[in-house]
Symmetry: C2
Subunit: 214 residues, 2 copies
């Protein structure tokens, strides 16, 4: 069953950057599982999936991350917290790993994927290390978008967290040296009845300011 | 009406990077309107919406863009083509414009928003011009994610287009000097019955490779 356009828009209007979560309410496991699958299914350029998503259950780690997030309560109070990390490199091994997986899932001989592999290698080799990480990080933001939209259509609240210290997150999560670095985080759960932001009128620029037909 | 988790996952599995669109099928106006509203409603950091979305109707411009897209047929054949552009700057005028809009929509005196305004200014002034554009571009990728997920839940096909020449797109669309630059594009419409990619098994890394619980 797909959604009607009016249902989608109602879901997107329901969504807001939740500031206060109900710390007592947890997303049921079967719904959370759909979020993990939504993350896995996120599209990425060339299909490379240059990311790792860390779901932080541990209360003490959540407390440490909160301190690296200007004390934002969502980090500890939300039912679930996802730290979206980007691969710091785009190496031949990453490409080979993806080609091998594609070959396995689609039953295509790796030789038949040599053209694709070569194209990705050319693309990658034209980038500096900083450009590679920046490119990977942009892909991670597709995942952030898909995650928040998925939450909205399921009627679950979310809050993107950019106001964090990625370097401190990396240290807390033991990421240095792993080839992954924190890009952004997202808290998910249920809004608190006390969150005044839930009832604030949704503010966006007028459509005419951000959309043009050519 | 929200979706059931199984319905969301079915929609996300229905989605694939459509290579061949049915050039004869157009997205009805009332559905397209929902896509534009979905773009408008995309969340962004601080709410700044550092973007402009160009919907390209003009067939000749589509042909020119196709030539700047390695000849990819989606650019001309899809019902709709959106070029997602990022603001190239994050200037005080951008911040003031947003604060004014927020004040207007929420009925909050601008003075009451001075704290937010100052926080955004501090954030912005710590970035180089290149960092500002990169930050804006990441926000645009949230919009790309929301757009593709919105399409999936409405049962509409889409194809993200990163394999384009942003500089050529900018020239064709007259963007230089406007303060916006092409980030990425997305074609939307209906898959062709001949698109062999529609039936290829969906390939992703195993969940254990991209998701960790901590």
């Amino acid at each position: 069953m797909t959604m009607q356009p009016s249902e989608l828009l109602a879901a997107l209007r329901f969504r807001y950057a939740t500031k206060a979560f109900d710390a007592a309410r947890k997303i049921p496991a079967e719904i959370w599982d759909a979020f993990e699958q939504s993350l896995v299914l996120t599209p990425s350029s060339f299909g490379l999936q240059p990311w790792k998503f860390l779901v932080i259950d541990h209360p003490e780690i959540r407390e440490k991350l909160k301190a690296a997030s200007w004390g934002q309560g969502q980090v500890t109070d939300a039912s679930h917290l996802v730290v979206l990390t980007a691969r710091t490199d785009l190496a031949q091994a990453d490409i080979d790993s993806w080609i091998a997986r594609l070959s396995e899932v689609q039953g295509t001989p790796a030789e038949a994927l040599a053209g694709l592999s070569g194209m990705i290698s050319s693309f990658s080799s034209a980038m500096t290390p900083a450009e590679k990480q920046a490119w990977n990080t942009r892909q991670v933001y597709i995942a952030l978008g898909q995650l928040m939209t998925s939450a909205a259509v399921l009627g679950i609240d979310s809050c993107p967290l950019e106001g964090i210290s990625p370097a401190d997150y990396d240290t807390i999560l033991g990421l240095p040296g792993t080839g992954y670095a924190t890009a952004v985080a997202c808290a998910l759960g249920y809004r608190s009845a006390e969150d005044k932001y839930a009832v604030a009128p949704k503010a966006r620029f007028e459509a005419e300011k951000v959309i043009a037909r050519i």
